[in-house]
């Protein structure tokens, strides 16, 4: 027999998946808008971010309700507590994607072939977010570990972008504004990567009961 608790857990799971889907949507669109220089697409990002904020609130309420009314233990408790942590990371991903979209709208960033590293960063970050959400949906521990390891790639790319931008400013001081915008975009991508790693770590915790911070 399906108890109310099981139904609520299932609802929590599907709400998390939906919120994850929105995160994938928002980061994919933000990256595409940036790479195509498409302000119209960038404008579409904001409403999705607001939807993510709403979802965060809903999921938090649901988690607290579950904790107070059902007093879950073991695996269920881990799922609920990691859900509470994950939504925060997802919400931050939404915000930062919206920030990237905002920069795309306001500043005319010409992304040409010289910005391959930013392109790579965008692609890598989108992959990381997709991977982290997939790891949660499929309860895939291996994928979660792969995402955690992949963060180094994004961090290295960020360093490369930074070096490139320093060089650009050195060569042409007029491109300072462009370089600063670009640096911000790269930093947002790097932070989104970190949030994806956090999600992957909570996925690991939900499955195994061990978390990096607890082990240390």
């Amino acid at each position: 027999m399906r108890t109310k608790f099981d139904e609520q857990l299932e609802q929590l799971n599907s709400e998390l998946i939906k919120m994850g889907g929105l995160c994938e949507e928002v980061i994919t669109n933000a990256a595409r808008a940036l790479l195509k220089g498409d302000p119209k697409l960038a404008r579409e990002v904001l409403p999705v971010d607001q939807e993510i904020d709403r979802k965060e609130h809903e999921i938090e309420t649901l988690c607290l309700k579950l904790l107070l009314q059902q007093q879950p233990v073991a695996r269920d408790l881990r799922l609920i507590s990691s859900a509470l942590k994950m939504v925060t990371d997802m919400e931050r991903i939404g915000d930062q994607a919206a920030d990237i979209a905002e920069i795309t709208q306001l500043a005319n960033i010409p992304l040409d072939n010289n910005n391959t590293h930013v392109r790579d960063m965008a692609a890598a970050t989108v992959d990381m977010v997709n991977g982290a959400i997939s790891a949660f949906v499929q309860r895939d521990l291996e994928l979660a570990h792969a995402i955690i390891d992949y963060d180094d790639v994004v961090d290295n790319l960020f360093d490369q972008v930074k070096d490139e931008l320093i060089e650009v400013i050195g060569k042409n001081p007029d491109s300072g504004e462009f370089a600063v915008d670009m640096l911000m975009v790269a930093k947002y991508f790097e932070r989104i990567g970190d949030h994806a790693v956090n999600i992957a770590e909570w996925v690991e915790f939900a499955i195994t009961g061990t978390h990096k911070d607890i082990l240390d």
């Binding site: 599907s14 998946i17 939906k18 994850g20 889907g21 949507e25 595409r32 999705v48 949906v137």
Partner: protein, 557 residues
């Protein structure tokens, strides 16, 4: 079944035992009673004889055992002369005088009586005789009644019944096992009438009949399923069937490919394991509410059109059918068409503005007579440009829609190139450009008008974008399975990053330059479409400020 057999067994055996024991007891008792009666009567006669022969005999000796017989002697005066009973539990002898058999014996000389004493537990047999001296002798024997005997032996009976219960259970089990053994041991896979007991042959015959029918139905169902899954798996469109929890019931290969999902078992898993796009989510949610939905989502650099419809029964959504179509090309074509119409309007409006401006000045008489010629020329040039543009657009749209009602015929490309280059001789001479044509007669099967249009446009470009005093080399050559037309110029060239785009409609490398050279921006687009019609390939090589070579490679038919 077992319970019932067991019940019947018990009932039958207990019934038999009870009935038999009652009958046997009854018969035995009847015989016992007869013997007892006989004994009592003969004892009475014996005593009577003894008493009559020798009245002084001592009765106490003769009747010393009161348990065997109770002997009572009454005098003629109806008093008790002798009684051998010393027990207090029996009827006292003087009270016996009122007994009917005693009274009867006094009257008629003899009597017998059988009656129950102490309830129904004991049966009393008595014989009474009158002696010659008028006294009466009574002999009585008490034996157990049939009921008492049965009641006394009830423990044996109870034990017997218990035995019957267990015995019946055992026998019932055994019987059922034996009856069902042939049925249980039936090998349904190798069923044959010859191997089973006759009793079961109707059953076996029916099973065999059923088996044949089932086999046929299963084969039919399997065939249909294979056909269905073949169709499903090889459909170009993705098809997903979901249940009311948005879990996957069926998913085909195309759908997995469209969503970029890894191969694996997704049956009974959430659709969101495959994709979580907001568009997909909202479409599914809408369908779960019972409304069909349509969404366009962008996944893996492709535009996917989702058609989601609910499957409802009695107004309750039981599942969802999700059809996924790749509409990237359609979407891109739509974008191109929109761009094209925007460009066409713009391109048409520019000469029209010039024409109407100049015409207005002329109409209002604001133009001095010496300038009228210049203005008219300007109007003429712009009108020609518009006319060219319109005819180009018509050609392109015909090529686009593949509405070519022109006949295929054998065309000598060398001859055609000679004609075309001839048309440029004057304008080339004006700019001191040399045109050379080399090659040999090469015939392909194609549409003359389109070939002419293509090659004219390419030569036109070679001239337009050439430098004064430059060269145009045209050659027609033939390979094993192709004919190649090559046009190279020594013009301004096309930068590498723009080379892909020059075949796009209205695309111009240098926007300002086109105004001077004229042209519609559709030339290479027409060439590209013309090549498509002829299954030819266009190869472009260009170096800025050195020149451009365009080769068209026609396959030999």
């Amino acid at each position: 079944m077992k319970q019932r057999v067991y019940g019947y067994f018990c009932l039958l055996i207990i019934g038999t035992v009870l009935f038999t024991s009652i009958i046997i007891s009854y018969v035995m008792h009847q015989r016992l009673y007869a013997t007892v009666r006989q004994t009592v009567v003969s004892e009475t006669n014996l005593l009577k004889d003894v008493l009559e022969q020798s009245p002084a005999v001592d009765l106490t000796v003769l009747a010393r055992n009161p348990d065997l017989f109770r002997i009572t002697l009454f005098s003629q005066e109806r008093t008790v002369l002798f009684d051998n009973s010393n027990s207090s539990s029996v009827l006292p002898a003087d009270e016996m005088l009122t007994n009917p058999e005693v009274l009867q014996a006094f009257d008629s000389g003899s009597s017998e009586r059988i009656y129950f004493a102490s309830g129904i537990q004991y049966q009393t047999f008595s014989a009474t005789l009158r002696l010659t001296d008028g006294s009466v002798i009574r002999v009585e024997k008490v034996v157990e009644s049939l009921f008492r005997m049965i009641i006394r032996n009830r423990s044996y009976l109870f034990f017997l019944i218990l035995l019957i219960f267990f015995g019946s259970n055992f026998l019932a089990n055994r019987l059922i096992r034996e009856i069902t053994a042939p049925v249980n041991n039936l090998n349904l896979d190798e069923l044959s009438l010859s191997k089973v007991d006759d009793v079961f042959s109707p059953l076996v015959r029916r099973i065999l009949g059923q088996q044949i029918r089932f086999d046929r139905q299963i084969k039919e169902a399997r065939k249909r399923q294979i056909e269905f899954s073949l169709v499903l798996q090889n459909m170009r469109e993705g098809l997903i069937v979901l249940n009311s929890n948005a879990n996957i019931i069926t998913i085909n290969k195309s759908a997995l490919n469209y969503f970029g999902a890894k191969d694996g078992d997704y049956i009974d898993k959430s659709i969101y394991m495959i994709n979580r796009r907001a568009g997909l989510q909202s479409a599914i949610e809408k369908a779960l509410m019972g409304e069909p939905a349509e969404e366009l989502i962008f996944v893996n650099s492709r535009y996917l059109q989702l058609l989601v419809s609910p499957i409802s029964e009695d107004a309750v959504v039981q599942g969802i059918i999700l059809l996924v179509m790749d509409v990237t090309e359609k979407h891109d074509a739509e974008v191109r068409r929109r761009e094209f119409s925007a460009n066409v309007s713009h391109e048409l409006k520019t000469p029209l503005t010039t024409i109407s401006g100049y015409a207005e000045l002329l109409k209002n008489g604001l133009v001095k007579p010496p300038d009228v010629y210049r203005f008219s020329e300007r109007i003429y040039i712009e009108a020609t440009r518009m006319s060219e543009l319109i005819s180009d657009i018509i050609t392109l749209s015909r090529l686009d829609e593949r509405q070519i009602d022109l006949p295929f015929e054998h065309v000598d490309l060398y001859q055609l190139m000679t004609d075309i280059s001839g048309r440029f001789t004057d304008s080339a001479r004006e700019r001191d450009i040399t045109i050379s044509l080399s090659g040999q007669s090469s015939v392909i099967y194609g549409i003359r008008r389109i070939l002419e249009e293509m090659l004219f446009n390419i030569c036109d470009n070679a001239l337009k974008y050439n430098l004064d005093g430059g060269r145009i080399d045209i050659s027609v050559s033939e390979g094993d399975d192709f004919i190649m037309v090559s046009v190279s110029d020594t013009g301004i060239g096309i930068p590498e990053e723009e080379q892909d785009r020059v075949f796009e409609r209205f695309y111009r490398v240098e926007k300002s330059h086109s105004k001077q050279t004229g042209g519609t921006g559709l030339g290479l687009s027409i060439a590209k479409h013309g090549a498509l019609v002829h299954s030819a390939k266009i190869i472009l090589e260009s170096t800025p400020n050195v020149g451009t070579t365009i080769r068209i490679r026609f396959p030999k038919h």
